[in-house]
Point group: C2
DNA sequence: TTGTAGGCGTTATCAC
DNA sequence: GTGATAACGCCTACAA
């Protein structure tokens, strides 16, 4: 049993209430003498207030829950790092949960967060393959009664939830237009998980760009994969079979997978194949050739998330909706046909 | 105010105590009838027990704190992911803290973890540049009174702390011996933060290998850097100035930095320069050429950490000391002189 | 200036 | 079978 406020009180010959007043620097005048005694006792007993007890009475935990599908994705890893660093600065801890797009794990975390009375929950790309899982999870979220801040669109259609997003249609559009402007006409898509909102939106952007060039999207040019290196690797042979001269990889990891299997095909990038990715993770400009990619403004997103968390802790009820814009970074993986 | 056990009690016409008994499936016989009533009320009121209150009386939180210097390092990211996934399976949440090797941030986190009464703290490579910070932090750790599990050696010299480590000397040895066996004699080191224990140990291994080949280590062959891509980039010109034909990068990120600046020097790897890294992060075999590296058995380490956490929650006081061995993965970045 | 008492939401020990 | 009652460790009126 650790030392409690009572121990301190006893040791310094005052009541627990007085100790509490002193610790919390309440605006009441207390004799210098007793203050000294109490501080001394605190130091000697190495007393630290039990935050559980404090949280119970104050009903605030200075803790937020953070849910993330793939924490090993460097883009996410960097985002989360920045969020954590800014939050600890405010004295707020974050409980992180990995979901791997698993609905039941997601629900488990959501409930666990709420049960622990986190002050807010940050969810990133909370979305599932199956419609039913989305609905199911949305209901849980609605019951939660905790401020929720989402990075990515509100696929749940929940009213009081703040969203911070990057224009995903624009991402697909920028990537595709860049390729089109280089003369490519058979542009393959190596997508992320097909039913996910991000995937759909990026594909929208792809179609939008094609339309601007008076081209009709060919469904055969899509490989329905996942947001992983392995998926990218697997997609190459299919897309080559469709005579793609360029591939829009739905994120940089997928692009890395394409790089990897390109070697097996003795294809050289960008001479034989142009590739553009999404996210601009830190390894993309080290790859050979450096990867052309669409960068999301990670810092701004992280800062906005933290800001929104802070506001909601401050009692702000209004939900915020912020949209950021992506940026095309042209590097060595794309060239004229 | 959320619904409490009292609300449920009132709604179902029983006492809070009874509700508690039912919820926790205590081995007491309770009439089927009241059980039904209570379950119904719970469902209708959407009642969920407040874990803060439960933790307060049970003095266990089912939460562990995890401290990590650089969560964006893919090796760490993967390790942490696995730990989280295995822990949530046991119903345990993890509060993660990024320290960036900052002593004051580390202390802040350590205290915050303890104040929140986490059941255990997992620290990874907790170590600092300055001796004084190490001592200082060690004192805090000693006062903590929480089971601590460390990935990496106990640089603190704290008695009751479990350690899970990978033989770091062996890492340096394997990397260097590989290079030596390829005929390299001027092998540069692009190190991680100089004062860190891992750095010193890997360098020990380097010296050990040289000694086996009857070579004396040349202090000029060391570039004292950091565990980052940038540091690797910066080290190249210095080490080339020392006529290095091969470089032992103290981790894969550093190796990536070397790849990056090699391009600027129009050096081709491994023809003009051999490189070996450490960690075998997922991008290393996609690099061109694929990076020869020393892999640490991440899965085994993660599993052992989780296992140790589980045991300590079970009340096990004994500290564990486990050592794993690294593995050399020969790929395309190393060749004969 | 300091102490008393009640409450935060649970669980646990006894009674009834 | 079920219900008081006292913890758990702290905060905060309200008294003194």
């Amino acid at each position: 049993m650790r030392t409690t406020i009572k121990d301190v009180a006893r040791a310094s010959g005052v009541s627990p209430a007085t100790v509490s007043l002193i610790i919390n620097q309440k605006p009441v005048s207390i004799s210098h003498e007793t203050k000294e005694k109490v501080y001394k006792a605190i130091k000697e007993l190495n007393y630290r207030p039990n935050q559980l007890a404090i949280s119970l009475v104050k009903s605030t935990t200075n803790t937020v829950g953070l849910l993330i599908p793939d924490s090993t994705n460097p883009f996410m890893a960097n985002l989360v790092r920045r969020i954590r660093l800014k939050l600890i600065d405010l004295g707020i801890l974050v409980i992180t949960g990995n979901t791997d797009y698993d609905p039941s794990l997601t629900k488990k975390y959501l409930r666990a967060f709420a049960d622990r009375r986190v002050d807010a929950i940050v969810i990133t790309q909370l979305d599932f393959e199956k419609e039913e899982d989305v609905i199911n999870c949305a209901n849980i979220v609605r019951e939660l009664d905790v401020p929720i801040i989402s990075y990515g669109r509100d696929v749940f259609n929940i009213s009081n939830l703040s969203t911070i997003e990057v224009d995903q249609v624009q991402i697909g559009y920028l990537a595709t237009r860049h390729l089109l402007s280089l003369g490519h006409r058979r542009i393959g898509c190596s997508t992320g998980n097909a039913r996910l909102d991000v995937t759909k939106l990026r594909y929208e952007g792809y179609k939008k760009a094609l339309k601007e060039f008076d081209l009709t999207p060919d469904p055969d040019m899509i490989y329905h994969g996942q947001f992983s290196i392995e998926s990218g690797s697997e997609s190459l042979s299919y897309l080559l079979g469709q005579n793609a001269t360029a591939i829009f990889a739905f994120n940089d990891l997928i692009a890395y997978g394409l790089y990897k299997s390109s070697k097996a095909y003795h294809l050289s990038i960008p001479e034989n194949l142009s590739i553009v990715g999404v996210d601009d993770i830190p390894y993309s400009d080290i790859m050979d050739p450096p990867l052309t990619t669409i960068a999301q403004p990670m810092e701004a997103v992280a800062d906005c998330i933290v800001d929104t968390v802070r506001k909601s802790l401050g009692g702000n009820q209004e939900s915020i909706h912020q949209i950021y814009h992506p940026i095309l970074k042209v590097r060595g993986s794309t060239a004229h046909v």
